[in-house]
């Protein structure tokens, strides 16, 4: 049903991606956003490079198969970065939903009749699915951070006990390092 709109969006791929990328990096302060936008080297600017890759991949899923595994793979690098930055969960994931406004502004003519509206609702439902997947990836990254913290603390304590001769040597019961 939404095929017409999806085709229109696909034809405008570079423009949509450019606007979407811009809105994604506006989660950052103005000076930072300017750097993220201008530096093209992926090793000098991993945030910009990974964000761009993610946005491109997500766009292709939005107008393509909406494959859960592929969406997760696209989201992982960008959410992994955002999970360690000074962003609330809402700020970290807001850029996904920002695509709705970008598309509404770009394709407002389609919104004028009931069928166009239905197409839009369908595309926006897909965007919602991307957003929900982003929450999942973000939380998985946060949980990983807690796990890393806990492991470091546990390993330090374990080593101290081991050095003090308080650990009974039983390889089957020794926690993983």
């Amino acid at each position: 049903m939404a095929e017409g709109l999806v085709n229109l969006i696909t034809k405008q791929r570079p423009t949509v991606i450019s606007k979407w990328f811009d809105s994604a990096i506006h989660a950052y302060a103005a000076d930072t956003a300017a750097f993220i936008q201008s530096q093209k080297d992926p090793f000098a600017n991993p945030v910009g490079s990974q964000t761009r890759n993610s946005v491109e991949g997500l766009f292709d899923q939005l107008v393509g198969g909406m494959d859960a595994g592929a969406i997760h793979a696209c989201l992982d690098p960008v959410m992994r970065i955002r999970a360690v930055q000074n962003l609330t969960p809402a700020q970290a994931t807001a850029f996904i939903f920002a695509l709705k406004k970008i598309l509404r502004d770009m394709f407002d003519k389609q919104l004028k009749d009931a069928e166009g509206m239905r197409s839009f609702l369908e595309v926006e439902s897909r965007i919602d699915r991307l957003g929900l997947a982003a929450f999942d990836v973000y939380m998985a990254c946060r949980e990983k951070i807690y796990e890393l913290k806990a492991n470091e603390t546990r390993n330090r304590t374990f080593k101290a006990f081991e050095r003090a001769g308080l650990i009974k040597k039983d390889p089957g019961k020794v926690p993983d390092a």
Binding site: S23, F43, K144, R163
Partner: protein, 548 residues
Amino acid sequence: MAEAKPKPKDVLDQLNYQPPRADWMDTPVEIRKGMYCYASNPKSVATLGLPNARPWNPTDEDWKLPENWQQIIHEGFKERLERFRSFKVFMDICVRCGACADKCHYFIGTGDPKNMPVLRAELLRSVYRNDFSRMGKILGKLNGARPMSVNVLKEWWYYLFQCSECRRCSLFCPYGIDTAEITIMGRELLNLLGLNIDWIATPVSNCYMNGNHLGIQPHAFKDMLDFFVDDIEEKTGVRVKPKYMKKGADILFITPSGDVFADPGTYTAMGYMMLFHYLEEKYGLDITWSTYASEGGNFGFFTSHETMKRLNSKMYAEAKRLKVKWILGGECGHMWRVINQYMDTMNGPADFLDVPVNPITGTRFEQARSNKMVHITEFTADLIRNGKLDLTPSRNDYMKVTYHDSCNPARGMGLFEEPRYVIQNVCNHFYEMPPNTIREQTFCCGSGSGLNAGENMELRLAGGLPRGNAVKHVQDSYGVNMLATICAIDRAVLPTLVDYWAPGVQVTGVHEMVANALNLSGQNERSTNLRGEEIEDLKAQSEGNADE
């Protein structure tokens, strides 16, 4: 993650692309959990005789400062401007061209503009202009000046402990400003008010009292090495015999205590012991460990020049007491910056020691003719180059190795080739990370300069993003599964970092790899590596991964 829940309007602002725009001076500091380290333990501060020892908490409103704290900062600033010409020049000369702005791993990772080296330095410069420059006094904010206040002080503390003094930014400054030196001075000033972090203060106190950062007493230090002796025998069938405080030995060996007490550095320590055993058996090398000079690292460097000097002096005092000819140093990071940049004018010159000569090859280490201390990768590279080691590199065939240049040996002493030469002679699969992430442009691990605590994990992971990103690249491109490094902090923090950014990659010291490849007289079939893992299993696993 910020504590405050976002209001719907905040999110809508984002949707409407309206990020707040404010001058950096008008953006108040928010001390965020996960980004800062706990405050120094007053006992440690008192042990060192440093000022204002008291319990305090960075998130409290009241930092329990001395009444005249502004005067202390002003006078401390003035004194350092007079003592250190470089500091004065660095305060005056910056034209804010921005060349350094995007070179800092903390800026790249956190996206916080105050982590741009130029802005971090402006935190101090703004007060410098206000207090010491005529234009600043007249024009005030127009000239980028602002008076010192509690909020400014908190901003100093928060951001000066978000700099690992790695000096990457200084590479790109057209005037050669070393922003790390500005951080060093800033931290000195903070220490005048008792504003250190505990991950620095307590190791320094431990080192001052017991000889190493972990506070391990001599018998426990020896116990640990004895444990390694058993472990090496179990893995190789050979019993090594390390010597302790041997008077008249040729060489004193000093390494960071992290190698003795923290995995995977412990395997690197076993590597040193096997190498020394091999050289003693074959060539009569006479080398000794010390339980007094049992720390190569120097967290005093992150506190003040005087504290650094006190901790550094014990290494040379022990060399003098034992009457060794010179000192061999292990795989450590900032220890080498202290030795190369500060030692000579701090506790040196070490005239009572000989210019180091490798007794096995006859090589004279001219680069160490003044500080008398040779890096172990220089020593081992010389042995390999002269054909003195019996090596089977294929024992490391399960490894696909990349090398992380530790900031201080790389930028602080120009040690680029020797570690690579050693690695390429003890393994068969070596892959470099992209050129703008290695050698003098290497990216910090994100945890240097005393920031390798646990409570600041978000800072460490964000700061380690550029390094992790480059490791991920060689993992994806070449199947790299091992990250080699020559710094004890790296070995302690990189396993966590790569577990987040490039899961599946492990971390090793270079001398762990050397020892895996080294053939000892009377050894068993050597079917396992030093970690006790079956080499054939690891090879099969590695080939399996490559086939996927």
